[in-house]
């Protein structure tokens, strides 16, 4: 008899709670735009913010409302842009892949620290103490703030500077926004010629700070047949709209801060860490 009451009681409570839950879920249902969910399903889910929205959810609802363009997801690339375009039934404009590039070649063999830094081991903290322990005030500090935020683990610290593996870079730009020195820039994937320096000091000072620095000698500016290179603030700057990747400037550069590079396309196994 006691068992029967116990059974009935638990059963009754469970039924009441079940009915209540059912009622609640019907009464307080929140309508979700099905298009937003479809768009959200295509997105990679890195929540990197490269699109300019707070996260993938935010961007998806903006696309579903029609206020955002479908080609803003940089980690997703052209595939995702095309998928979103198909869902929304709109034409997708051209999509250009970008990769992160560390414009500093001040590795341990090229530059010496002026002080020994023993504080919190992050670039952000180090840069707050007189701009960091490097001789060069502009260069990579090498404590790996960028490597810590990279969602795909494409950045490793090697010989005192950040090295970015372009084949695993999804172009989200998190590292570029994290770097307190601003040496990481986002450049087009098909770039062949780069300036491997961010130092805007005058030639002699830049040379003293780092063996690999751009000294602003203007040899590249004179040699470039297309007028793509200009020296601004003692630092060579390449206009990628004019650059024809001829490589003449690379041969002319006396310090080797102009380099010919090749950014491999993204590897199939690039995985986004949770």
């Amino acid at each position: 008899m006691n068992i029967l009451t116990a059974f009935l009681l638990v059963f009754a409570v469970a039924i009441v709670l079940g009915v209540l839950l059912l009622l609640f879920s019907h009464l307080f249902m929140v309508k979700v735009d099905p298009k937003m969910q479809e768009v959200r399903a295509c997105l990679p889910g890195v929540n990197c913010g490269a699109c300019g929205y707070k996260g993938c959810d935010d961007y998806a609802s903006a696309v579903a409302e029609g206020t955002a363009k479908p080609n803003l997801c940089i980690p997703g690339g052209k595939d995702v842009a095309d998928q979103i375009g198909a869902i929304m039934g709109i034409e997708v404009e051209t999509f250009e892949n970008k990769v992160a590039f560390n414009a500093c070649n001040g590795h341990c063999n090229a530059t010496d620290p002026i002080a020994e830094y023993d504080g919190i081991q992050t670039c952000y903290a180090a840069s707050m103490l007189y701009g960091g322990p490097n001789t060069c005030r502009f260069g990579c500090l090498g404590y790996g703030d960028c490597a810590a935020v990279c969602p795909t683990g494409a950045i490793c610290m090697s010989n005192g500077i950040a090295r970015i593996d372009a084949s695993h870079c999804i172009g989200c730009g998190l590292c570029s926004r994290t770097c307190p020195k601003g040496v990481i820039t986002m450049i087009p994937q098909d770039t062949k010629t780069v300036v491997f320096c961010s130092n805007t000091q005058k030639g002699a000072d830049a040379r003293k700070a780092c063996k690999n620095a751009c000294i602003g000698c203007k040899k590249c500016e004179k040699a470039c047949p297309n007028g793509a290179i200009t020296v601004q603030n003692n630092l060579a700057v390449i206009d990628y709209d004019k650059c024809a990747d001829c490589g003449i400037c690379v041969k002319e550069c006396p310090t080797g801060c102009l380099k010919t590079v090749f950014f491999p396309h993204r590897a199939e196994d690039t995985a986004i860490a949770e």
Binding site: N2, T5, A6, A14, L17, M29, V30, Q121
Partner: protein, 199 residues
Amino acid sequence: MESFKTLMIILLSSVLVDNYVLSRFLGICPFLGVSKKLDQATGMGMAVTAVMLIATAVTWPIQYLLLNPLNLGYLQNILFILVIASLVQMLELLLKKFSPALYSGLGVYLPLITTNCAVLGVTINNINDGYSFIGSMVSSLGCGLGFLLAMVLFSGLRSRINDANIPAPFKGLGATLIAASFISLAFMGFSGIVENIFA
């Protein structure tokens, strides 16, 4: 029915002396898991406080109006778990509808409270201590506030631990657990205080 003085003793002793996390070691999972950032810790603490209050308001009548008259005290655990789990689900639906900002802020922590032993512990202990309905509500408010206090204190401590230069073997969970034990030790200093405050 407890007097005002008794209620204050219940409140203060459940916040400081019998702190659920630091003295009774219940609800350690969210204490270690969600205390990395101050805002998350505060959100979790508030959510747990709210759920404790609602759960007590529902389970106290169940115990005294259903289980005791029917002599089914042994069903306490299973019924309370059932009720708390459903309550959290309902609260989740309500929040989703009326406060989407809070809902997305709490995120996964709200469903996690379903299986939080501190909530079950509060409801069962209220019955075991023989509190009246008002006493039970005050006690669960105190336990919730105690949980919030522990979370906030510990999240502050953890942000300092993260910035410190810790020997490699203690990095991560090791240093965290040691710090938790220190806070727990510090809270032992409160024992015996509360009864004498109102003397």
